[in-house]
């Protein structure tokens, strides 16, 4: 159980008592409660909870606005909406406001506990993925190029990609799907690409098209192997990869997405290759 606990926000003290009872009986740590937006912001700031249960109707606002205000304080706080009303529009609006799950009143204890446990488990799993993925993608890349070209490949220190990335000429993007979706790209110059593919083929590539297709396949193998390694460590990740997208052109700039990605420079005999990879911790419990 996370130490920083749960806050219950509901305009009815009666509902607060019911929800508190359900959570505490299962050993969850309820650290605060609030009956209005003002109280909510105060108690969130003071207790820094891990999770919030949110009522839809609040005296001076609604559950969506209250959620937005809470996420302004800390956008990592997980919010479960608990409401007597539930229709497509409300569910859609909940997703839009980054509410992670939805439970209808009257609250079924088992359902609420299952929802909280699901969030805890998903977050544990994300932490696991976050700790491992970059190391495994680097290992996969070093291994693939090492085996395919029989050369020694090294990597530099990885860093968080917070700014636009300027392509060296060719980029291969691989979309990753799974419990947590993400993406990988490798980027290199035309010259490096030509030498690398020639080394893999053990002969000069026929034309530029063959170089591009070779890179696509290389990126496919690197991301496929890395995803399999991660899936083997935890099957629940369920990572799968989309076909490679191969881009080349002038002044290509790749923007950082709305989640963290990590960049690593790889040094090969053929020139430098940049690896960038990241996974989004999303509203996966809706899936």
């Amino acid at each position: 159980m996370k130490d920083n606990g749960i806050v219950i926000i509901d305009d009815s003290p009666f509902s607060v008592a019911i929800i508190r009872n359900i959570l505490e009986e299962e050993g969850f740590n309820v650290v605060g409660e609030a009956n209005s937006l003002e109280e909510a912001l105060e108690v969130i700031t003071k207790t820094k909870p891990y999770l919030v249960t949110m009522d839809m109707t609040l005296p001076d606002t609604d559950g969506f606005e209250c959620t937005r205000s809470i996420h302004k304080i800390d956008d990592s706080i997980r919010v479960i909406m608990i409401s007597s009303m539930m229709d497509d529009e409300i569910v859609k609006e909940s997703k839009r406001n980054k509410i992670i799950d939805f439970i209808q009143k009257p609250v079924d204890g088992d359902e609420l506990i299952a929802a909280v446990e699901k969030i805890l488990k998903a977050d544990e799993l994300y932490t696991f993925l976050d700790d491992k993925y970059n190391e495994i993608f680097i290992e996969s890349l070093l291994d693939c190029i090492g085996v395919m070209t029989k050369t020694q490949v090294n990597h530099q220190e990885a860093y968080l990609q917070t700014k636009d990335f300027n392509s060296s000429g060719i980029t291969v993007v691989i979309g990753i799907i799974g419990l947590f979706p993400g993406r990988m790209f490798i980027d290199l110059s035309k010259e490096t690409a030509g030498k690398l593919v020639a080394a893999i083929l053990s002969k000069e590539p026929k034309d530029y098209n063959e170089v591009l297709l070779g890179l696509g396949e290389l990126a496919n193998i690197i991301s496929g192997n890395a995803s399999s390694m991660l899936n083997r460590q935890n099957r629940a990740l369920g990572l799968r990869i989309a076909p490679p997208l191969i881009l080349h052109g002038d002044n290509i700039v790749i923007s950082p997405p709305d989640f963290d990605t990590i960049t690593t420079l790889i040094e090969t005999d053929f020139g430098d290759i940049t690896l960038n990879v990241g996974f989004k911790r999303g509203d996966e419990t809706w899936m």
């Binding site: 993007v173 979309g175 076909p243 997208l245 052109g249 002044n251 700039v253 790749i254 709305d258």
Partner: protein, 152 residues
Amino acid sequence: MDVNNINPFMESFNLVMPQLGFSNIKKGNLSVKDKEITNTGVIMLVGIVGDIKGNVAYSLDMDSAKKVASKMMMDMPVEEFGEMEKSALAELSNMLTASAVTIFSSSEVFIDISTPTLLQGDNVSLKIGSGKILCIQLFADDIPIDINISFD
């Protein structure tokens, strides 16, 4: 390529764009490209895995990208294609593809999508695997947006 796999993307465009404040949705040319497509401007890439597997690339010229971003940000004037604008366009590609996924699922085709990758550049050639690329040109309030789809 099965044309039935294209319709959900057009339906999704018809559904999502009005929600963002665009009133006039029009369909333009449909074309099939053999190997690669070339664009100057902004491209958003989304990967697809499941019952069908492939990629979708949304492309707009820079001027159109700014107009779309402006509309998505409640008609806020957009001078520069900055962080907010990029984030809006990435979110647009996510919304359009996610909505197409929902439409697919109503005909028992189940797919998942990757996170979007947004990039910009000049004369950007895009190769989506070895297969054919289907390009649909759509207009939202006369702003052209190309949807390029390729399935394995």
